[in-house]
Symmetry: C2
Subunit: 255 residues, 2 copies
DNA sequence: ACCAGCCTTCCGCTCTGCGGAAGAATGCCC
DNA sequence: GGGCATTCTTCCGCAGAGCGGAAGGCTGGT
């Protein structure tokens, strides 16, 4: 699931410690971290102490650690936040308001092109329930945004992703590489893709690519709507328009 | 401006390297980082290499480094994102839709109670222009959210903040400690505060506290509206209602 | 009282990070 | 082109920083 990027050295250990935190366990005790990282307790004690002193971790009243505000702050300087999210938000909000459904923005993980990382999500209390949050990841093949991103990624990367077994979420998840290739071709040709009940049997998503101006595809945007028989193509124009709007904004910001 | 949290040790240096990135310079070359951190070039070279290998930094096509996607992803496990932002978003959107103005959510920096860090912001293309972004910080005394947070913070911390000179942004910025104390008292008594043209001469903000259920104040929420003579109290009910809604959601999530 | 986890401090060995120096790879100006 | 400035990368020997085993508080459960 989570990659093990660490080779050796203190830096790698520091990153291992930070990597011990997950969406399901955002607060960890000292020995939790030691167990997960497979590092000696004493070592973790020192590292965590230094990280806490630097604001990268925070210590709660119960003694458990969480990711610190300062690290959170620094991380917001990532390009995904700085340029992309900034430019996209107004368009996401418009799309959200028009559709009244969940709207998502995602990028491809360059380290592992088989997965997408969600940058932003706008939800409504009464919208279809949904599993993703900003910062969370999903297999590229199963999601609308993932298919769009894969369609415009390095073909060699895409083939590498298709070479490994594809995870199934529902009976509708497309797991045959050839079927995926067809969807990718469709995405390139039509400028959008529909992922029909691939993640949850009750919802589908309509996605379109976001470019940096008229340059390469840097992100994808989708709307998740209930699979209630309504023709999904209804949503295509709105999604594509929003995606193009973001692309234009990005081009103006960083030519 | 930026604190120097580092003492010694590799961990501290790693954090120094990450801390070299700022909102105005989100992409840095190797020697940029060396200069800013005041570390030997060779050392930075190694650290940055290890950080890049671990996904904490990304290297752009031009050779410059940016904060990496993986770090961004991990940072989203900070409580400010996990619980707070998650719970707040629907209410922020409602408030945003009703007011059609900028809506912001912020927390107090525990390391320096004199500053607030913005967690989220919803803007509109045609709203008053505004300087804050998620992850950015401002002096607590000058902002609506800051005054609210300070009002409910440890009184000793508040006094410590008032002891140092207060930065002036406009002729309306409240810089006299006693005037600030009056505003804080008002915030406690009324459950809201109005920061009138303190940051920019053309806008004012109305802020209210967000509690963890019925517990302590953990965040503050504000709407920024043009200072066009409209009675700012018009906005108070909507802001307070949204703040209470978030508080309730937080209480339900983590009792 | 006893035990089982969790956290913290101590300390000596050694392995690892350190950074000066030197060399490649640009880019710029004359 | 030649020379100069800046940036990035590789190499390597020294020493001090990080390492982690062991031991001792500090809980809370039975």
């Amino acid at each position: 699931m989570s990659t093990r990027p660490a080779r050796s050295g203190v830096t790698a250990r520091v990153l291992d410690v930070l990597g011990a935190f997950t969406a399901r366990t955002p607060a960890l005790s000292l020995s939790d971290i030691a167990r997960r990282t497979d590092l000696p307790l004493t070592t973790v004690h020192r590292l965590v102490g230094e990280l806490t002193a630097g604001g990268a971790l925070d210590r709660g009243d119960d003694g458990r650690y969480t990711i610190g505000l300062r690290l959170w702050e620094i991380a917001h300087l990532a390009p995904a936040s700085t340029g992309l999210r900034e430019a996209a938000m107004p368009f996401l909000e418009d799309l959200h308001e028009v559709t009244r459904h969940n709207v998502q923005l995602a990028v491809l993980d360059s380290a592992d092109p088989g997965e997408v990382v969600y940058v932003e999500r706008l939800s409504t209390r009464d919208a279809v329930s949904i599993v993703t949050r900003p910062g969370s990841r999903m297999p590229a093949c199963a999601t609308g945004v993932g298919l769009v991103l894969l369609a415009h990624a390095d073909p060699a990367d895409a083939e590498r992703v298709l070479a490994r077994p594809l995870r199934r979420f529902t009976p509708h998840t497309v797991c045959d590489p050839d079927d995926v290739r067809a969807l990718l071709a469709q995405a390139r040709a039509g400028g959008f893709v529909i992922s029909d009940r691939q993640v949850e049997p009750v919802s589908l998503s309509v996605a379109a690519p976001v470019r940096s101006g008229d340059g390469p595809v840097v992100a994808a945007l989708s709307v998740v709507v209930p699979a209630d028989g309504t023709n999904p193509h209804t949503w295509v124009p709105a999604v594509r328009a929003a995606a193009r709007g973001i692309s234009r904004a990005l081009g103006a910001a960083r030519p």
